[in-house]
């Protein structure tokens, strides 16, 4: 009885369904990869499926975290993929130009330049959206197209290889036997949580996303807030770019971060943040990103034939979204327990009921 109530409490929690989905997806691997959950020490660092999920998933998590804030302001950022490519390309270019590629100073310089570039990209998006009032999707589409070109311009279409242990640390290296990327992600996540929840930034962002005109009339400097969101998002993408390039010790201006924006947005929504802006949930986003990365890994490990990859992905995504949708669960539930209430509701009514609140 006590347990039951505890269960109900858990089921109420926002993260309940995303986490359930994640666990289910992980469990799906076990029959195909018996040792899926095993993690053991291989030449000085942890090794196992879970580790590689975190390792390969961390860039997506970063991008998704940034995307969450942008979406919360009622915007969207399609340019993250391009920013990933730019920052990676720039960093690798700088490192590869150095006499001693291993020198920490040089690598840090590369990081600094890359992030500076990312910052500029973010400011640019912010300018277009907040100052010029261009619709976010189109404003960022511009950088999505041109930015990819800029990245290729930097690498001149080639793949820039670097041989620098200090550079490969951030995305490929290990620290305390754990992937260093894990620490970066943890840091960024903690930072953004603090930035939004310890200060009033989160509240103001949610207000701007929830009702722009009202926010203007209470004197919120919406423009400033939006610019900050886009800059932060670009910075996250920048770091992700460093990770991706460092993970393979090479910058690929052509393909790095290609289509990552879609996965990021997917992660944000699976995490429970609405694309219409307002309330946002960083924790959910992280889980969402992990779900997507797990999905990718699963496709590889359970041997889905290549041509079926996308179908498989689509099906899983839609299932995950369905189980998360209260409307769907309500219907599914009513379908099973055929207790007809006083008024048989046609599909759609609960939806509308939920929306009605505002107008009561």
């Amino acid at each position: 009885m006590n347990l039951a109530s505890l269960w109900r409490a858990a089921a109420q929690h926002r993260l309940f369904w995303p986490v359930t989905a994640l666990i289910a997806l992980l469990a799906l691997n076990v029959p195909f990869t018996p040792g899926f959950f095993e993690v053991h020490l291989k030449n000085g660092h942890l090794y196992g499926s879970l580790v590689s999920i975190v390792l390969f998933g961390s860039p997506l998590i970063l991008v998704a975290i940034g995307m969450t804030l942008v979406i919360a302001t009622g915007g969207i950022d399609l340019s993250v993929g391009a920013v990933v490519a730019i920052s990676g390309a720039l960093a690798c270019l700088v490192v590869s130009k150095q006499a001693d590629q291993d020198s920490v100073a040089g690598v840090l310089l590369a990081f600094a330049l890359a992030l500076a570039a990312a910052l500029v990209c973010g400011a640019w998006n912010g300018l277009l959206v907040a100052r010029l009032g261009i619709q976010p999707i189109i404003a960022t589409l511009i950088l999505m197209v041109a930015g990819r070109g800029i990245a290729q311009l930097i690498t001149s279409g080639q793949i820039i290889t670097v041989n620098s242990d200090s550079y490969s640390l951030i995305g490929g290296g290990y620290w305390l036997a754990l992937p260093f990327a894990l620490f970066v992600v943890a840091f960024v996540a903690a930072l953004s949580a603090a930035l939004t929840r310890r200060t009033a930034l989160g509240l103001l962002i949610e207000a701007v996303g929830g009702n722009a005109e009202a926010s203007r009339l209470v004197g919120i400097r919406a423009r400033r807030i939006k610019v900050m969101a886009y800059v932060f998002c670009a910075l996250c993408a920048g770091v992700a770019g460093l990770m991706i390039s460092s993970n393979v010790s090479a910058a690929d201006g052509n393909n790095a971060g290609l289509w990552i924006e879609l996965d990021a947005i997917l992660a944000v929504v699976i995490g429970g943040t609405s694309l219409s802006g307002g309330r946002f949930h960083l924790g959910g986003t992280v889980v969402g990103a992990l779900i997507i990365q797990t999905l990718t890994t699963t496709i590889y490990t359970i041997g889905v034939p290549t041509q079926a990859n996308l179908v498989f992905k689509a099906v899983v995504v839609i299932i995950v979204c369905l189980v998360q949708s209260p409307a769907f669960r309500a219907k599914a539930f009513r379908a099973r327990a055929k207790r007809s209430g006083p008024v048989p509701r046609p599909p759609g009514t609960p939806a509308d009921a939920a929306h009605m609140e505002v107008s009561s």
Binding site: L203, G210, A214, G219, I220, G341, T349, V358
Partner: protein, 509 residues
């Protein structure tokens, strides 16, 4: 004694929302050809009852019967088909469509599926004039102020009550909340006509005089419970109020005429030739600390526009403003806010509330915006402040963590008021603050205004109710055709009649 059969009978209606139980076992009967008042405090459950009836919210219990047969209405569309047309509390129109379309969408005149636009506009114009309104029906609804939109919503509902598939029941949820006498008269005339045609009308309002003027019978709710069904004639005001809020209401009387205790502080705001083309003609206005300046005028007279200019919500294109004797340029609201001006918009839904945020967050928003994002309000202080104002304004439910969107109309209004009081402004601009607020709360708010002004806060007060304006203000500014026609020092000799005279004639000695 043989009663006629009710056209609509709701029995044992139950409605639960996530936390709250909005309706518990309410019975409601409606007879053909009657105007039936649905009364109750804010949050009593009036709108919910309406929404449950019209299928916006699913029922959690009880039955609905029309002409004796049980009906299952599960969407507004079905309600309309069943002959129930409704004006919901918050104006629900499509801002992007023209007035004409908003009135007739769904019933557009068509030939071979092709919309006959001329015919459409003709019909709309006709319906509009029937309510004595003259506006360009091909302009978008969004270009008109709330009051006009409210009228359009009524015209839509009534429109198909006249033309549509034999409307039997007409529901009006606070239709008059921001209309003034002229429009209300027109509306009542129309209601009487429909009543004569045998249409049954549900009328929700917090204006008791209107209830006594137009209604035959009334049903009173309190906290979602039915507390009585009476013929209007049978029940006096005092008893009615007692029935609604469960306690006597003498404060209003004791409040008396405020302006008698006039305390003219030093000049706070001085506007000179301030104006905005298309909005309001250039005007001069002085507001002193501790002074209440009431804006009187008819619908569309420009009160809101004036108020918005004082706050920088719109940019003025002529004139200048001094605050505290210092010249200021009001480019955006936060220029004004920074100098202690606060503005409560008349349009709580689109310009006030952030529905997804909690009550607490909504209340704190203005203060937080002023402090900037780096300096959040300390938790302890925050909760204490919020609790204080929830109590002071008696916001229900008193839980700071509920979604503001889930509050009843009146309570949302209180939340917004709290939001601005929190910032302790020097000048408080209130555009129809008592819109949709129940008698008790209205008295509370009026008392609040009085005490605030006594503590030295300057107030610019807009209300569709002349009496209210006169009761509270030291100075009355009369607007007409979007220009400031007159400024009068309030006193015993200033009566609603006199104001209306000025509005009519447009000049005063």
């Amino acid at each position: 004694m043989a009663e006629p059969r009710p056209v609509l009978e709701m029995t044992g209606i139950v409605k639960e929302f996530a936390g709250t139980r909005a309706l518990s076992g309410v019975d409601f009967r409606l007879f053909p050809g009657e105007v039936h008042a649905l009364l109750g405090e804010n949050g009593a459950g009036k709108s919910t009852l309406v929404k449950v009836l019209t299928g916006v919210h699913p029922l959690d219990g009880g039955t609905v019967a029309m002409d004796g047969q049980t009906v299952h209405i599960t969407s507004p569309l079905q309600a309309q088909q069943a002959g129930i047309s409704t004006v919901y509390q918050e104006v629900n129109l499509c801002q992007n469509l023209s007035v004409a379309e908003n009135i007739l969408i769904g019933h557009e005149p068509v030939r071979h599926g092709r919309i006959l636009w001329k015919e459409l506009r003709r019909r709309a114009a006709e319906l509009v004039t029937r309510l004595g309104l003259d506006i360009d029906v091909s302009a978008t609804v969004g270009s008109y102020p709330l009051a006009v939109q409210q009228l359009v919503a009524i015209i839509r509902a009534v429109g198909d009550a006249g033309t549509g598939p034999g409307t039997r029941v007409l529901i009006l949820d606070e239709p008059t909340s921001s209309l003034d006498r002229g429009e209300v008269e027109q509306l009542f005339a129309l209601m009487r006509r429909l009543k004569a045609q045998g249409v049954a009308i549900v009328f929700i309002s917090h204006f008791l005089d209107q209830i006594y003027e137009i209604c035959d019978r009334m049903t009173v709710l309190r906290n979602g419970v039915l507390v009585g069904e009476h013929p209007v004639a049978g029940l006096g005001r005092v008893d009615l109020v007692k029935l609604m809020i469960g306690k006597d209401l003498d404060e209003l009387e004791e409040l008396g005429e405020h302006h008698t205790r006039h305390a003219a502080g030093d000049l706070l705001l001085h506007a000179e030739g301030l104006g905005r083309t298309g909005g309001i003609a250039p005007f001069d206005l002085d507001v002193h600390a501790g002074e209440v300046v009431g804006l009187a005028g008819l619908l569309g007279s420009g009160r809101t526009e004036l108020a918005r200019l004082l706050f920088g919500a719109d940019r003025s294109d002529t004139g200048r403003v001094d605050l505290d004797g210092r010249r200021v340029t009001l480019r955006a609201p936060n220029d004004a806010i920074g100098r202690g001006v606060a503005f409560l918009s008349e349009n709580r839904r689109t310009e006030g509330l952030v529905p997804d945020l909690t009550v607490r967050e909504n209340i704190l928003l203005a203060l937080q915006a002023a402090r900037g994002w780096t300096r959040p309000v300390p938790a302890s202080q925050r909760d204490e402040l919020v609790a204080k104002y929830i109590a002071a304004l008696d916001i229900r439910p008193a839980d700071p963590e509920v979604r503001a969107g889930a509050l009843s109309g009146g309570n949302q209004q209180k939340v917004l008021l709290a939001r601005w009081l929190l910032t302790q402004p020097k000048l408080l601009v209130l555009d129809e603050p008592t819109r949709g607020i129940d008698v008790g709360a209205k008295a509370e708010i009026q008392k609040l205004v009085v005490s605030l002004s006594e503590e030295g806060m300057a107030v610019v007060y807009i209300s569709a109710e002349l009496e209210e304006v006169l009761r509270l203000s030291h100075t009355v500014a009369v607007l007409r055709d979007r220009r400031l026609a007159a400024r009068i020092v309030n006193g015993p000799d200033v009566t609603p009649g006199r104001i209306l005279e000025i509005i009519a004639s447009g000049e005063h000695r």
